[in-house]
Symmetry: C2
Subunit: 376 residues, 2 copies
């Protein structure tokens, strides 16, 4: 896997006011809007629907911005997130296998007033959803989850997908709407990514054609991820894409070569709290701020990137401490100084916060992470 | 490092009622009480004070149980946590370098009504605390943080500790109370642990003696960790210990050989949501439930232990998915089935929840994670 170097032209987060206690997650509003608009333009050009995965921001305000920019609907991973997002969106996708009666009842209830679809990869899921929908008197749209190489969820073959689709058409309360895939295994770029996306398309085309041969239509073919977002047109079967991270970006997308540091809208401002150990400083952020997620395309780069000290390396995290190796830094941060960190993986970092701060045009606003802490 | 095998005599969590949505973090009340009492008895026998680190549970109710069992006070890592814990405890320790004016003012304010101590390892911290205390008209107790081998925070030598202690005695608003260390690098057992704890004691003794030679008293010597908790008497200088994880335990403490699976009070009940990929099932818990923390004494064991399927291995986590390799299981979990997971590291898992469920004597109660989501 190719690791992309980090350009050091990035402007540190000058805005974070001294009053905000650290560690604090701040969003650059202008960058968020630019990221949203860039994807919207790309998708419009290629006539692809955008159904952003809201797991990244879990925020109704930001979901509304995505809808305002033309998103056709919203995606979520938990029923509680879908319920929260239903307050701003009318067209919702739960991209998670929903098999237990408790989840299915809540989905069925929500489907009474909203266009709601669920991804499934088992007969158990179809039957549970159908039963719940029948009880609630609603209709739940179903996308059959097809594994395109990640090996996480999704049926293996076009004929497995057909069997599940036929079960859906035979069941009351559920409506067959199409196919879903998640190419989360693709972290390559350029030619290699094109080859991988072709393989995804072949699998999807085979499924669509087999369905068609049996009189079933895949009206929706939903795919996409942040690393593949701007090459989604190579998967000709897609009708819509569901990237999540693109709204903020992080060191995974930077180091993977999918964006630049200037496209990272979310940063965590920390205070240096210790320099007692030689060649090291300690930040007031650890796993309860950054999570333990490594940088997928560059494991050895540590736990995030310090904007003001690009030669420093966050080598080790405890729960509230971040140990930073500063031996390669010509100039070293002092105790009490604030530094700006772009985390490896923004989604679980934001999930640790009840609220984050939105900085735009000199203003600071608190943005609630509405959908965090949902139970299922 | 020795890896301890997991005994399979553990009783699955039969209590978790079907109504609780998964993934759900449940506590076995009887085990929590037994863990608290076991440490209390050990400490009483050795005349050691117990000042539990509340970062593990972040709960006032559980802190109160620890105090009821004889704990001399409470430890926390963030100012917000100390503030929350001050509602049940009167003797508080902030075991974190507090260097910025905002944190120091809040500490100084709290010190007006509570016995409050802070660990420091820099002159900046001493000066900031002294200034804030002078402004608030309070006195903040200071423990000088000495590095005993972890290399995270703490001054390196006895004479560094003396220099800082002398600065404290020269400063208004702060009071020199003693020494703090955290032997978080010690994950060994038996003889090797004894050797390591002797080295810790030597370093602490040298510091205490140097202070005494300069007329300074280390009235408190605070140390301890969960892996070393029941060998703390080997560090003769300790006056108190601050283990946190012992209250619940997790796969780190089990696999490290520090407790048995029967001592794990916190477990996460998940639903199997997919079995579409051969030799794999998927749980509805990923990094937003289990975190990405590996098992420190046994990295290769995966992301937690499934009680009902001890031969299964949680190989890969996405945010809301846990992929489980079931190829070694004679019997395999079915879609829709619930399973019980003991996580690798309980502290950050609990930190993801607004509330957890306390199961005891057939009763289920909601316990708020009071001190999560604190800003600094």
């Amino acid at each position: 896997m190719m690791i992309f170097p980090v350009q050091n032209s990035f402007e540190p987060f000058a805005l974070a006011p001294r009053e905000l206690p650290t560690p604090v997650l701040v969003l650059d509003g202008a960058i968020v809007r630019r990221n949203i608009n860039r994807l919207a333009s790309y998708a419009a050009k290629h006539r692809l629907g955008v159904r952003p995965h809201t797991k990244t921001h879990k925020s109704k305000v930001i979901a509304q911005m995505q809808l305002n920019a033309g998103a056709i609907g919203l995606t979520a991973a938990k029923v509680g997130e879908v319920e929260e997002m239903s307050k701003v969106g009318d067209d919702l996708l739960l991209a998670f296998p929903t098999v237990d009666p408790a989840r299915c009842s809540r989905v069925a209830e929500l489907a009474r007033t909203k266009a709601l679809r669920v991804a499934v990869d088992s007969a158990t899921a179809v039957n549970s959803l159908a039963q719940a929908a029948a009880a609630a008197g609603s209709i739940i749209g179903v996308l059959v989850d097809v594994d395109v190489g990640m090996g996480r969820t999704g049926v293996a073959t076009a004929s497995d997908a057909l069997a599940l689709a036929e079960l859906v058409t035979r069941s009351r309360g559920v409506r067959l709407d199409g196919i879903l895939c998640y190419p989360g295994h693709i972290w390559s770029v350029a030619d290699q990514q094109s080859v991988q996306l072709s393989a995804v398309d072949n699998k999807l085309q085979a499924t669509v054609q087999l369905w068609a041969a049996h009189g079933l239509e895949a009206r929706i073919v939903s795919g996409g991820s942040t690393p593949t977002a701007f090459q989604s047109h190579l998967v000709r079967s897609y009708t819509e894409i569901r990237p999540g991270t693109y709204v903020f970006n992080d060191m995974n997308t930077v180091r993977g070569g999918f964006c630049s540091l200037e496209d990272c809208a979310a940063r965590i401002v920390c205070t240096v709290v210790s320099d007692a150990v030689p060649h090291q400083v300690v930040l007031d952020g650890g796993t309860k701020t950054f999570t333990s997620d490594i940088c997928i395309p560059a494991r050895e780069t540590g736990h995030g990137h310090i904007v003001e000290y690009p030669d420093a390396r966050i080598t080790r995290l405890s729960e509230e401490h971040g140990q930073v190796d500063v031996s390669a830094c010509a100039r070293r941060p002092k105790v009490g100084e604030r530094v700006t960190v772009v985390p490896n993986h923004i989604c679980p970092c934001l999930n640790l916060q009840d609220a984050v701060w939105w900085m735009e045009a000199g203003d600071v606003q608190r943005v609630r992470v509405d959908a965090r802490g949902q139970l299922s």
